[in-house]
């Protein structure tokens, strides 16, 4: 039996209906670097919070250094030698870097008023070790996001922990500093400290970790070294989504996407003769949804540009982020005929990129054009006048307004009442399920209906370009198909779609053009059929290139 420094047994944590940790039994060996990966919402951060006493578990035990620490408070656990950092570094912003280190209570509340010399010496050592001595007297609010991550690590080191749990230590950190953080972690590990690390950046995980555990839906689905984990089918399912048709391999999926693109737009159909064959997995064959072919027949082509050539959204060298965190680094994307998909792991910046394109997040540098209009400095509501609309994640419907009012607000920028009424009729013809619910509050609809309402509301704007932010997120598998059919409905009525998705395998069936984003940078760009090899896709997706 191995020497586990940290061991959980059947750890469970639920939030109401949601089971965030579903019986996690994990042993962390002394001296190892243990990576924890898994898609968005798989329970990684909850696991950290439950282990370190920030959340009370609903069942199971946590043992640290052989002692049961399940019911200890977070401060007691920290002083016992199990330190942790948070995803968002949160130093005391009004204190200097040095004061932040000195503010750590190393001996509980009894440590008194005077800061002992040993503690000052320890802080000085850590400043030198982490190479942040030159900013020791700067206020923590003035240092970069990466330096804040180092400071966060330094504060934990003040407690001299034997095991440190790191929640995305390199998120939003520039590559140079990222390399330094990794070096420091490596050095601390060589000193004998154990690490448990949540990270989306696979280059960090692959270089640093001895073992990796993969979480999906609150359970550990796989454990092993990095290479064996990433080639495992269950891991791929966790990241790329399940294929609803068990017989459909990726090749079929890609053929489906090709036949879909042939039907809708012809720019990417550059003569691939093998597209015939299995039409069985073609994306249009679902036929269960309310969004069906009748929609395309009844919906009029949007007003405005009568030119047969569609306007194109062209974004060049976009850089943006939040606060001092760079999320998108020098990314160029364009809208293509049909459906343009943006894939990438959680935290890769997909949603931020989409918000930057629509104007909800200001870009730091780069330019965005839509047709002939420069919209770099534009904003969301002005962009609607140019003909582009975004469906925010989870649909963003108005829960206290009725379905009809939601739809009418979709036509807020349409001044002509008759146009608004015609569009309402068109939308209701496309989504008959909404007609029965016209007077119901938006919030009373099911998740799938809310997404339908969000589609309908966006169609009311009469836009020619739709930006969709993970429309299938949180929906039952059967509804995922419906969402993709609704997406195709938009294309069939002559619009372009930029689709951000986590369900990669499903979305590839309807994709015409694909971008893959990892750590805020483009890893791949090209027609969907170029993504022939799933191994390659996984590597691109995880940013291993």
């Amino acid at each position: 039996m191995s020497d586990y420094i940290l061991e959980t047994a059947d750890l469970r944590k639920t939030f109401g209906e949601l089971v965030a940790n579903d019986g996690i039994s994990l042993g962390v060996e002394r001296g190892e670097v243990h990576g924890i990966i898994g898609p968005n919402g798989s329970g990684k951060s909850t696991f950290f919070n439950t282990v370190t006493g920030f959340l009370e578990p609903n069942g199971g035990t946590v043992r640290f250094e052989g002692e049961d620490v399940t019911n200890l408070g977070p401060d007691e656990i920290a002083r016992a030698g199990l330190g942790r950092t948070f995803q968002i570094a949160s130093p005391f912003t009004d204190l200097t870097v040095r004061e932040n280190l000195l503010s750590v209570y190393t001996a509980g509340l009894g440590s008194g008023l005077r800061i002992p010399d040993e503690k000052r010496a320890r802080a000085q050592n850590i400043l030198e070790q982490l190479e942040i001595e030159h900013i020791a007297e700067h206020e923590a609010s003035d240092i970069s996001g990466g330096q804040q991550q180092l400071l966060e690590l330094g504060r934990i080191l003040m407690l001299d922990p034997s095991c440190i749990m790191l929640d995305e230590p390199t998120a939003g950190v520039n590559p140079a500093l990222q390399a330094r953080i990794i070096d420091h972690l490596q050095g601390l590990n060589d000193e004998g400290r154990t690490f448990v690390i949540i990270e989306h950046d696979m280059s960090v995980i692959s270089g640093l970790t001895d073992r990796v555990s993969v979480l999906n839906q609150g359970q550990i689905v796989m454990q092993g070294d990095f290479d064996s984990v990433t080639s495992d089918e269950r891991v791929r399912e966790a990241y790329l989504g399940e294929t609803t048709d068990p017989d459909a391999g990726l090749d079929d999926t890609l053929e489906g996407s090709r036949s879909a693109s042939d039907a809708t737009a012809d720019t990417v159909a550059d003569g691939s003769p093998e597209t015939a064959g299995s039409g069985g997995t073609s994306a249009t064959s679902g036929g269960t949804s309310a969004a069906n072919a009748s929609a395309s027949a009844q919906l009029s082509v949007p007003t405005g540009d009568t030119d047969s050539r569609q306007k194109q959204l062209v974004a060049d060298n976009i850089v943006t982020g939040y606060g001092n965190h760079t999320v998108i680094e020098d990314v160029s994307v364009e809208s293509h005929e049909g459906i343009t998909c943006i894939f990438g792991p959680n935290g890769s910046g997909k949603s931020t990129l989409l918000k930057a394109l629509i104007g909800a997040v200001p870009v730091w540098s780069g330019s965005i054009r839509y047709g002939d209009t420069d919209i770099t400095q534009s904003n969301t509501y002005k962009n609607l006048d140019y003909g582009m609309v975004m469906l925010p994640q989870d649909g963003g419907i108005f829960g206290n307004l009725t379905v009809k009012e939601n739809l009418l607000l979709g036509g807020y920028r349409v001044n002509d009442r008759s146009v608004r009424r015609d569009r309402l009729d068109d939308v209701l013809a496309a989504f008959p399920a909404l007609e029965e619910k016209l007077d119901a509050d938006g919030g009373s609809l099911s998740g799938g209906q809310q997404m339908m309402l969000s589609f309908g509301r966006a169609m009311m704007t009469g836009s020619e370009l739709f930006l969709l932010d993970e429309p299938s997120a949180g929906l039952a598998p059967s509804l995922v198909d419906d969402v993709f059919e609704m997406t195709e409905t938009l294309v069939n009525q002559g619009a372009q779609v930029i689709l951000v998705e986590q369900n990669v395998r499903e979305a590839l069936r309807i994709a015409d053009h694909v971008y893959i984003l990892a750590q805020g940078q483009l890893q791949f760009e090209g027609p969907a059929q170029e993504l022939l090899n799933e191994d390659e896709l996984v590597e691109l997706y995880l940013g291993l290139e």
């Binding site: 969301t380 509501y381 006048d385 609309v389 419907i397 009012e405 607000l409 979709g410």
Partner: protein
């Protein structure tokens, strides 16, 4: 209590409830859309009172003129206050906005005190009264009631049936999503603050019809309006009207049956009871944490 006296009190209660509803409607509108707790709301009422009193008494204008002038002036004042004080700090913490609106309250009330003195003022003419089915109705109160009820109906219809009204409710509901349907959220903000101020102005404008006014009269109304807004559910428009009526009845009947200012205690007891039993308010949807 004989039936005609009871009816009399019911009439008073509906009147007061209507005015309370009007005050609370403006307050809840601003809170619902912007998450701003507007302490200046009572002071805006006072401005409305003094416009009507001064225009009618000193300039000899008709009430039909001074009341609409008060409403329009308060709309403009509200937009001005919003653009100059709230809009620049709309993204900062709620406490900051609260302090700013409190500052605006002090400035307005002090300015009125400097110009018109702190002495109570009243309209120089009485409006008389009518007797109807044994109920004695002072005309001033009756007119105020009619105006309040009309204003509430118009405000409700505006919010319910116009695109702008829907946009205001949509922004109150989901500020983030509002921008994605093309709503210019900053514009909705200042219009909402303007409308809220105009409703406060109207409520203030009808008060001189039945009681004497002073620069601090807004405070009493404001405190009860806060109770009403929480009672009805923060940000809920129908909740403000229903809450206004409840407090109107408690106020009037409390004055009859309870000694001294006991009615005010009753108001707060009901308030505490609602918070204990249904913390989101009577018509509150989601609880803001």
């Amino acid at each position: 209590m004989d039936p005609s006296t009871a009816l009399q009190y019911v009439a008073f209660a509906i009147l007061l409830g209507g005015i309370y509803g009007l005050v609370a409607l403006g307050l809840t509108m601003i809170f619902g859309v912007m998450d701003v707790i507007n302490f200046a709301h009572g002071a805006l009422m006072v401005v409305g009172m003094y416009i009507v009193w001064w225009g009618t008494n000193e300039l000899g204008l008709s009430l039909f003129l001074t009341i609409p002038i008060a409403v329009i002036a308060l709309f403009v004042l509200g937009v001005g206050i919003h653009l100059s004080t709230i809009a620049p700090i709309i993204d900062s913490s709620q406490e900051n906005q609260l302090i700013v609106t409190f500052g605006v309250l002090l400035i307005i009330v002090s300015a009125i005190e400097i110009v018109f003195s702190a002495d109570p003022q009243r309209l120089e003419f009485g409006l008389g009264s009518v007797q109807f089915a044994g109920v004695y109705l002072p005309l001033g109160q009756l007119y105020a009631l009619i105006i309040a009820v009309l204003a509430v109906i118009i405000a409700w219809a505006f919010l319910q049936y116009t695109q702008l009204g829907r946009a205001i409710r949509g922004t109150a509901d989901n500020r983030d999503a509002a921008q994605y349907v093309g709503i210019n959220v900053p514009r909705i903000d200042y219009l909402t603050f303007g409308f809220g101020a105009a409703l406060a102005g109207l409520a203030g404008a009808v008060i001189p019809l039945f009681q004497s006014i002073d620069p601090h009269l807004g405070d009493a109304y404001l405190i009860n309006a806060f109770v009403i807004v929480v009672l009805g559910g923060l940000g809920s428009f129908p909740g403000a009207l229903i809450g206004g009526m409840i407090i109107g009845f408690v106020h009037v009947f409390g004055q009859v049956f309870l000694p001294g200012s006991g009615y005010q205690i009753a108001i707060f007891l009901i308030f505490i009871l609602v918070l204990l039993l249904k913390p989101s308010g009577l018509l509150g949807g989601d609880v803001h944490e």
